[in-house]
């Protein structure tokens, strides 16, 4: 089959665009040289370039073919050299369709084929007609299904699972910020304000100015973040067709993608500080090592924003875990965090003392006011941490600013890793990590700071459950 004819002028235009950018940036085009003769020759050259690149892209187009063979996709291309590439359907993990705003106007799309293992997209068709893109996606999926020998009797209905309403989109855009970094930024301003200038000069004005600056920086960051979220997740939809989750999203770049359910390594429920106050959560899904070029982070979002209960029931549709009741970790872990923060405060005090002594007078003792903050922080860190080993799933929770609850099926475990740092050993605490083939979400599948003896037992227990789950899946 052929690529879309529209891709000839489009690609030629893109080539010329790059060339022009190169010329302009290399500085050969300065205004002084813009006399009539120059313009004449320039347009002559430009016309030449346009026709050459049009011809070139036409040849490229002529020589580019793709075929759907019985068990693989075959692409032949190359002007001077004949390149042939075969991608077996069963190796294709994901077919994604991308169109930017210009491509949308022209009605063309780029189809990318992602395979596991490779670090880049295996192949991409630049560009095919919109409808063609859709049918390629369907075709690959159909061939893949034939490969895996699934019975065709099940209906092919496409069930819509989720649609982000515009009010939820707005809420998501505003709430999905890294609260931690923002509060850190603001606190830093606050501390420097009060310490560096305020108390030193015993006047309030600079403190106010700095607080104002800090606030506006935070606000700007927030608005920028919200806008980018809005553009990315505009009109988000999620479907389920047989064993694949499919999503579609974006305002300027409409991107589509699919996640094979069988490749899901785990899911995580994320609520940052703000979302938690309002009872919202985000659901993310992780598949086995997709290529690095994909925007992994955004690709994994299954439900951008919904009420916590909805997210949980949605998650339980995907992975059949039980309602969880996360147990807490030993209370000496809390003392450990307090100790850790206290050391931090101690270092700050030392720095403050040095500045006070050798540079200029600062009220460094006001730093002692941080001690209660540290106590609260330690408690919050402690209380938001825990795990539960269910029958088929391991559930762990970590983080205060962004609380992540990871749900990992035992049969996805690749390695079990138990670690104790020197500092942990002092408290007789240990960390157990369930390593899976996923990249981001499930790497958070770990029980941190549990009792050392308990950790050893838990490791054995998880391993037994892992073996059990393998047996079960073999039977199935």
């Amino acid at each position: 089959m052929k690529l879309s004819k529209v891709s000839i002028p489009y690609r030629a235009l893109k080539d010329i665009g790059t060339l022009l950018a190169l010329v302009v940036f290399s500085g050969n085009l300065s205004f002084r040289t813009l006399d009539f003769r120059f313009i004449f020759f320039a347009s002559l050259v430009f016309g030449g370039v346009v026709s050459v690149s049009l011809i070139w892209e036409y040849i490229v187009w002529r020589r580019y073919d793709y075929f759907f063979e019985e068990d693989s996709l075959r692409i032949t291309h190359g002007v001077f050299r004949r390149d042939e590439r075969e991608i077996p359907y069963r190796r294709i993990q994901n077919v994604d369709i991308r169109k930017n705003i210009v491509q949308r106007v022209l009605g063309i799309a780029k189809v990318g084929f992602e395979t596991a293992g490779g670090s880049t997209t295996e192949a991409s068709l630049k560009y095919v007609e919109k409808e063609q893109a859709q049918s390629i996606q369907d075709k690959v999926r159909k061939f893949k299904r034939k490969e895996t020998e699934e019975d065709e009797k099940e209906g092919t209905e496409r069930e819509k699972l989720f649609e982000l309403s515009s009010s939820d989109l707005l809420a998501y855009s505003l709430l999905s910020v890294n609260t931690k970094s923002m509060i850190m930024a603001f606190t830093a301003f606050g501390i420097f304000g009060s310490l560096g200038i305020g108390i030193g000069q015993s006047s309030l004005a600079p403190v106010l100015v700095l607080t104002f600056l800090g606030l506006s920086a935070v606000l700007a960051l927030w608005i920028f973040n919200a806008a980018s979220n809005f553009i990315q997740y505009y009109d988000f939809r999620l479907w389920r067709e047989r064993d694949t989750l499919e999503f579609e999203r974006g305002l300027l770049n409409r991107s589509e993608g699919s996640i094979p359910v069988e490749k899901v390594q785990g899911i995580s429920i994320e609520e940052n500080f703000l979302k938690r106050q309002l009872g919202y959560a985000t659901l993310k899904v992780e598949t086995a090592s997709l290529s690095e070029q994909q925007e992994l982070k955004s690709n994994m979002v299954a439900v951008p924003l919904a009420k916590y209960g909805t997210v949980i029931s949605f998650a339980r549709d995907l992975e059949n875990f039980q309602a969880f009741d996360i147990g807490s970790i030993p209370s000496r872990a809390r003392r450990r965090y307090l100790g850790r923060y206290s050391i931090g405060i101690g270092l700050l005090l030392l720095g403050g003392f040095a500045v006070d002594r050798f540079v200029t007078e600062v009220g460094y003792l006001s730093l002692l006011a941080l001690i209660p903050v540290a106590a609260v922080g330690a408690h919050l860190k402690w209380i938001n941490r825990g795990f539960e080993a269910q029958e088929d799933y391991f559930i762990s929770m970590n983080g205060f600013w962004t609380r992540k609850t990871s749900v990992t099926p035992y049969y996805r475990v690749q390695n079990l890793i138990q670690t104790e740092t020197v500092l942990q050993r002092r408290w007789d605490l240990s960390t157990l990590t369930l390593d899976t083939a996923g990249n981001l979400v499930t790497s958070d599948s770990r029980a941190v700071d549990l009792d050392l003896g308990e950790a050893v037992e838990l490791r054995e227990e998880v391993f037994e459950k892992f073996k059990e789950s393998l047996k079960d899946s073999k039977k199935a």
């Binding site: 086995a288 690749q414 740092t421 050993r425 073996k467």
Partner: protein
């Protein structure tokens, strides 16, 4: 549980010495330029000593075992790490031998899984015959338990 070949300490000490000699060269340069006093060279001795102690502990803490259904590793000085690698998950196994390793008749076995963290489980410093034994055994066990999708 079994440990590594004692000879591996030599390799590690060599690495430490190499690093320390680089630092020493830097310090020496500074001394020759009169930027630092000569006594600073004592630091090199301290570093070498610390490195040696670390490597001895590293050797002492290293142990592994080929259990029924998984490979068990226990190692680490500042951070003790115990990992279980199920044979079902082993994708492939490498034996690596650098020049120094070859000189001492040592091998390094690397076990690959699809995991993101334990992607390269390494057993450093085995005797050559042990290494091929381990590799063979791991391969057999991995094949034996291979009727599952590894991912």
């Amino acid at each position: 549980m079994r440990g590594l070949e004692r000879k591996v300490i030599f390799v590690w000490l060599l690495q430490v010495t190499f690093l320390v000699s680089l630092i020493t060269a830097g310090l020496l340069f500074a001394v020759l330029l009169d930027l630092l006093p000569v006594s600073v060279l004592a630091l090199s001795v301290v570093f070498e000593g610390l490195g040696a102690v670390y490597m001895l502990l590293r050797f002492r803490n290293w142990s592994f075992e080929l259990r029924d259904d998984h490979l068990f590793l226990d190692h680490g000085v500042l951070k003790r790490t115990r990992s279980m690698v199920p044979y079902v998950r082993v994708q492939h196994i490498d034996t690596q031998r650098g020049p120094v390793y070859r000189l001492l008749g040592l091998s390094k076995v690397v076990v690959y899984t699809a995991g993101s963290k334990g992607a390269d489980v390494t057993i450093p410093g085995l005797s050559r015959s042990d290494a091929s034994d381990v590799q063979e055994k791991l391969r057999d066990l991995a094949i034996e338990s291979e009727d599952m999708d590894a991912v």
